[in-house]
């Protein structure tokens, strides 16, 4: 359903063709990384740390090397030590530990053998002597004066490597005078929140096959969100020139941000180099949960002041993100994501805090869901205290073009007001909740990003086109690229074959993150098509014997009034390409600026069983500004996927650690993601406020949908029970306890 129509209409953009890769995926022909097998291939397995923090005194691999089938063993000593200021330093010491293990499950060594069982047996036979170190597990513990260090090599970014710290980043953001505004406010509400680590939960575990040849070059087949990223990080960790590695992208079975980095490929490459045979390395589900990045946990204190008529006058926030044992930018981004409301006075302080837990990774709109859970909960309480409708209060304060984000920059054209109005007018919001259910709403924001993309478009002699890009197809991007090319060239979308090419067959393309593929790679496809249209018109002018300036491209054909208006189709021109100047091909590469921020507004109706504490969602609607929905079905899919992942985050999902840092629920039986029977149909409303920086108005839609669900459901639980939940997940035991405390 589209609530606000894009004022422009197109022939192909906005339609819903079956995706080009759909058949292969439905019938099981699509090849994921673990599906590939090469002649002579070995299988690899890891030895992982049984301790959350320890020095490695010694490693003895001799017994493992002598075991049946073993062809190669690697440890951290097989890799160069990167300088601590190198941007790949942290990933290099995460791939295999160097002298110190920093979390339970940290990889220490790997073995390649003729079978997986032999590799696992040999890995278990590696003897390691440890010197145990203090384990730092919580934010308060890590930030306390005199706290032991979770990682003695960590230093605070932008401060310098001289002083090891449990702090990765400290980001203050201020405007106006929040203290004075808070003192003058008619109503002030302050609450403290906490959020457990959650995992992206992609169905396909990390997997790769690497064949390092005698010439020193490595062929890598891998599942990732960006094969150029895999090439760059693998080369850096190995100490190789980038050109020694070719990465072929396998199909990807989910990433959601968790496949924006590398775990396996450098290890497999070195094992293959040592063994002289291809090596396959596939994580188990337990390894995925223990040793590949979950999203950060967090603690947040949020105070918001407002006037009695509902104008939000100030926000004062403290946000600490628990990011594992390695520095990253999660804390900074959390504070920067405060951008939905005008807030004339703002004081935010955010921290990235280390602990001896797995290295965190992005999860859709990284760090924004935590902040939104806290802020949208407090805003809902203000609306409730003032007796205002929660949408009306948000409309009164919603950011519009020119309003400042927390990071100080004014918004470009955005669609938050349109999203709020669309929900307000929706069938869901107009109808009463079912008997026994209550309703919550919340807003989410995400920046979206641009970055580098390349595209090559080849026109074939039969009038079809091949569109070659370097963006792995995670959410239907092949179909989106084909639709934009079809719109530009004026040919049928099924006359276009979209291809995701390897690192040697297409120009450099950054990782698919920040909802950037349809925006930035799509922009490159459009540029290449437009260059081709100029050339097609030139060829047509030559054939028609008219001036080039008199020819224009209309609906898939060159037309010139001087030529009687008789169209010369694309197929007719390509058939004569050899005669008119040779193959018709164009390439565009760009570093895209102007990604359009995206807003979402969600609405949930829930019932809470006060005997068990279980929350059941009876109705759920997601509204989101897509800019322009190139393929509405896949936009809706992203909105639904983000909503469902957010519902899992809200109600059940959490990393549970023992007191010594061991993850206690490393499997989908105990780490409970939602299944279909847990959910109603997620209703979607696409709002289209075009992004002026994209030729079709694309904003990017992959991430924003995960930002509002936690607060949406928390607000609905509050409406249903009168109890404000401040801890994620809002699982039955926590709800029961809160209900008991609230009575």
């Amino acid at each position: 359903m589209t609530a606000i129509e894009n004022p422009k209409t197109y022939k192909w953009v906005g339609t819903r063709p079956i995706r080009h890769d759909g058949y292969d995926k439905v019938v099981g022909k699509a090849r994921f990384a673990a599906d590939l097998n090469l002649p002579g291939q070995l299988h690899a397995a890891y030895l992982r740390s049984p301790h959350a923090h320890a020095n490695i005194v010694s490693i003895d691999t001799s017994k493992a090397e002598a075991m049946p089938g073993v062809k190669a063993v690697v440890t951290g000593d097989d890799f160069p030590a990167l300088d601590i200021t190198d941007s790949n330093h942290d990933v290099s010491i995460n791939v295999l530990a160097r002298g110190t293990v920093l979390y339970h499950g940290h990889a220490i060594a790997a073995v390649a053998a003729t079978t997986k069982a032999e590799a696992q047996a040999a890995a278990a036979a590696i003897e390691v002597e440890y010197e145990l170190l203090p384990v730092v597990l919580g934010i308060d513990e890590a930030m306390a004066d005199g706290a032991p260090l979770a990682n003695e090599q960590n230093y605070q970014k932008f401060v310098g490597p001289s002083d090891p710290s449990n702090i990765a980043t400290h980001t203050p953001l201020e405007r106006g005078d929040a203290d004075a505004a808070m003192a003058a406010a008619d109503i002030v509400i302050e609450r403290e929140f906490d959020c457990a680590h959650v995992h992206q939960g992609y169905i396909e575990p990390h997997a790769c096959v690497v064949d390092t040849g005698a010439d020193g070059k490595a062929n890598v087949w891998a599942s990732s969100q960006g094969h150029f990223m895999v090439r760059a990080i693998t080369a850096a960790v190995l100490g190789w020139e980038t050109s020694r590695i070719k990465v072929t992208p396998a199909e990807i079975g989910g990433g959601f941000g968790g496949k924006t980095t590398v775990y396996l490929e450098p290890v497999a490459a070195r094992l293959s180099e040592k063994a002289g045979r291809p090596v396959k390395l596939v994580m188990s589900r337990e390894e995925v949960l223990r040793s590949s990045g979950p999203a950060p946990g967090a603690k947040l204190r949020i105070k918001i002041g407002a006037t009695s008529d509902g104008e939000l006058t100030a926000i004062d926030g403290w946000m600490a993100y628990q990011i594992g044992a390695y520095g990253d930018f999660a804390g900074m981004v959390g504070a920067m994501s405060v951008a939905s409301y005008k807030f004339p006075n703002l004081k935010l302080e955010s921290w990235g805090v280390l602990s001896n837990t797995p290295k965190t990774a992005a999860y859709r709109a990284p760090s924004a869901p935590h902040a939104a859970f806290a802020i949208e909960s407090v805003i809902d309480d203000i609306a409730s205290e003032l007796g205002m409708d929660p949408i009306e209060l948000r409309l009164k304060n919603a950011a519009v073009e020119g309003d400042l984000t927390a990071m100080g920059m004014p918004h470009p054209r955005i669609g938050l007001v349109e999203c709020l109005e669309a929900l307000k007018a929706s069938d869901h919001y107009q109808a009463d909740p079912a008997e026994g259910a209550a309703r919550g709403v919340a807003v989410g924001f995400w920046f979206n990003i641009g970055e580098q993309s390349s595209a090559t478009v080849n026109l074939n002699e039969d009038g079809t086109a091949t569109v070659i890009t370097g963006s792995p197809d995670i959410g239907g991007s092949r179909a989106s690229m084909a639709l934009m090319a079809a719109e530009e060239l004026g040919i049928d979308v099924y006359s276009i074959t979209p291809v995701v090419a390897d690192t040697e067959a297409v120009g450099f393309t950054d990782v698919t993150e920040g909802s950037r593929a349809t925006f930035a790679t799509g922009k490159a496809v459009v540029e290449a098509c437009r260059e081709l249209k100029v050339e097609l018109c030139r060829r047509a002018a030559q054939t028609m014997g008219v001036d080039e300036a008199e020819v224009e491209w209309v609906d898939g054909a060159a037309v010139s009034p001087s030529h009687g208006g008789e169209p010369l189709t694309l197929a007719a021109i390509t058939a004569q390409a050899k005669r008119t100047g040779g193959p018709l091909t164009a390439t565009a590469s760009l570093n895209a600026a102007g990604a359009g921020p995206s807003f979402a507004v969600h609405c949930a109706d829930v019932k809470v069983d006060e005997e068990t504490g279980q929350t059941t969602i009876t109705r759920y609607t997601a509204v989101q500004d897509a800019g322009t929905a190139i393929h509405p079905s896949y936009v809706e899919g992203q909105m639904q996927g983000g909503s469902v992942q957010g519902i899992g985050w809200a109600l059940n999902e959490e990393y549970i650690f023992s007191s010594d840092g061991v993850l206690m629920n490393p499997g989908f039986l105990d780490y409970r993601i939602p299944v279909a029977s847990d959910l109603p149909m997620i209703e979607t409303i696409i709002v289209e406020v075009p992004n002026p920086s994209h030729p079709y108005g694309v904003r990017g839609v992959g991430e924003t949908g995960i930002v509002p669900p936690m607060a949406t459901i928390g607000n609905a639980i509050k409406a249903a029970t009168g109890v404000r939940m401040t801890s994620l997940p809002m699982s039955p035991p926590k709800v029961l306890k809160a209900l008991g405390d609230g009575r």
Binding site: F158, T171, L173, F329, P366, G450, E703
Partner: protein, 81 residues
Amino acid sequence: MATVHLMTQHRPLAGGEAVVEADGATVGQIIDDLDRRFPGLGDALRAGSSAGIDGEIHAEPEFVQVQPDTVVYFVAPLTGG
């Protein structure tokens, strides 16, 4: 002179100023000008900043051209999932 908005964490390096003026035809030249007047600010900006110009965020802004009336917002590097 372009108008430059600094992130809160960089303001102590600029004498506490949130907004400063700077000369230059590119963002890189603006950073150089700021570093001449506020030693250390240049390194801090280059260590981890994107630049917002005319509503668009540039991840590697060094060679992005600016006009005398351009407003530059230095912001932390953005990422995504």
